[in-house]
Symmetry: C2
Subunit: 128 residues, 2 copies
């Protein structure tokens, strides 16, 4: 049987919404106890619900998350997030993996940063 994509989508949306609202009990409900949170760009990993919650509670600055797109498929979801810290906009690409019981057990965050265009493709490209 297919995992319930609609449930995954709801959980993924709730994850962003509850983080944004600092609804820590609500976030806790969504997470497996042994959730793994990974930031491959810095090769950092946070293991377990308490450490993950503390990471978010302690995260410095006036951070905000707004969901641009959610894509859910079985027990996987991808979140395209417009974040900001104060006035500084940032983008996140987040990959969620749910357990058999419908709890988030793996979160992989990418926070891509701006860079200059590679030279040699100016003939193909327009820029904002």
């Amino acid at each position: 049987m297919d995992f319930d994509t609609d449930a995954t989508r709801r959980i993924a949306v709730a994850y962003v919404d509850r983080l944004e609202r600092r609804d820590w009990p609500g976030v806790t409900e969504l997470l497996a106890e042994d959730v793994a949170y990974e930031m491959p760009q810095s090769r950092e990993r946070i293991l377990g619900r308490p450490a993950f919650l503390r990471f978010n509670v302690e995260y410095p600055g006036d951070w905000h998350l707004a969901l641009r797109r959610v894509v859910a498929d079985g027990r996987f979801a991808a979140l395209w997030i417009d974040a900001r810290v104060g006035e500084e906009p940032q983008t996140a690409c987040v990959w969620l993996e749910l357990s058999e019981r419908g709890l988030i057990e793996r979160i992989t965050d990418y926070w891509p940063e701006s860079y200059e265009p590679m030279p040699g493709r100016e003939h193909l490209v327009t820029r904002d």
Copy 2:
């Protein structure tokens, strides 16, 4: 009626596979004529199938793409890609949007780069 998620997933997988094989006619088949390819990190945009194909044909280096995860949902898909240029590994997070006719009409690529951990969270984190 829901857009056909299974068709979207097949197209998303074929997109990566055909790029990797340099199957340019095969890639062409998947794309809307007015496809928009966007790289928000450099604020670059490439418009139209011919320019997008030329961008890939001309892209320097021995580049390779391997699909780590595809998440498809209606006419949207997200691709988590393990890329490399020569021996240099890179990750891509790619957001696809299909037209009503099942052709890829928007591609948004993020290529997150490595960075150092933010100080102050060493008590929560392990590193690879």
